[in-house]
Amino acid sequence: MQVDIKTSDIRPIRQTFSNVARRIGGDKPASRYQEATFDMQPMVNFHYRPMWEPERELYDQRRTAIQMADWYALKDPRHFYYGVYTMTRAKQQEGADRQFEFCEKRRLIAQSDEATRESIVQVLMPLRHYEWGANMNNDYVCAYGYGTAVTQPCIFAAMDRLGIAQYLSRMGLQLDGNQGSSLSAGKQAWLELPAWQGVRRMMENLFVTKDWFELFLAQNLVFDGLIYPLIYSHYIDKISPATGNAAGMLTEFMTDWHTETARWVDATIKTAASESPANAEQLTLWYRVWRDELARAIEPLAQLALGSSGTDVLATIRADLDVRVGRLGLVARVATGATA
């Protein structure tokens, strides 16, 4: 008897969902990111208005001054949906865990000198509270924002901030031999140390900023754009040798994360700014106000972290940020001879 093995080629009737097909120009295979993002948020047929804001719909475009013809233009260049996001972070977590184990085994942080340990408590530990604030702000953008393209990466960013706060906590626990005393000392510094009060006050101002796109810009572009280079580049470079480079190793995630996340933040701002001159103008206005206020608030922290060179370093970081937003279609400086 002879057995013939035949292959039969079964073609799917449709390559993707109709809503995705309409967006990508025809019925062709779509990426998981596209299928898990486009049109996920309900847009019509809301039955009831929210009791906490009866003049608006549950999802409402009018919660920000920014206007977009299509909110799904604000795509994430990293193509993060749940699957890719969790796999990427799990991989990074594995690497970071190994760094933490290494530093603990060699007691690198614990054996560094008194001045360095004190500096870590005063400069790095209070950042746990900064990260929590940033978590709240990204949660807010996710809750009140419009369209899954922008709200989805915000909740990922919010989770990242908790992760970063945990890395800082673990660093503190290595510092005080799992006593937790450096964490409480860090909280005390956040609440009482004069150098932190500007940052804390601005964080609280962000908590009551109503326009979600303004909050997105203030937190993710400006606040992070100033704090991250200041702390995770300049400050860590300064103290890392005294800790046997443990400080550099244990904050590697933060450095990588900021570079990666900046791509998404930049793409979002750039797309919104190129949508219309009105958007670009509004974003520019917000940028200038927040940059000036936040830079002023961070200055005492820069001095605490870097001593007398802090002010100059912050000025350089601020100038770099101006260049960065210039590429996004915002005008960082007032034109005619006036100083920004």
Binding site: D76, P77, R78, T88
Partner: protein
């Protein structure tokens, strides 16, 4: 004995499992090799080209939005023909 003459270019091919990443790979390959033809099979895609076929890391990265190690290609690779010339930036199939 006859002189060595230039042979007509022979086709090279690469066959990949069809998955989410491969779709971007195929898109990148077709963009970089306009002379390539794509043949779909069940759960597989075969790309043929006369003479030379190149996969560029940069083109793939631009499409998938993350860093991509060209060695990741092997995770979806079913079969290929041609001499292989690989660097960190390019994976090239050719005859000759």
């Amino acid at each position: 004995m006859s002189a060595v003459t230039a042979r007509p270019a022979q086709p090279v091919f690469i066959a990949l499992q069809l998955n989410d990443l491969t779709r971007s790979l195929v898109e990148a390959i077709v963009a970089d090799n306009p002379h390539a033809t794509v043949v779909d099979y069940p759960a597989m895609v075969k790309i043929e080209a006369l003479g030379r076929l190149v996969i560029r890391r940069e083109s793939v990265e631009a499409l998938i939005g993350r860093d991509w190690d060209i060695q990741e290609l092997h995770l979806s690779l079913i079969s290929l023909s041609g001499s292989i010339d690989e660097t960190d930036d390019e994976f090239c199939l050719h005859w000759g």
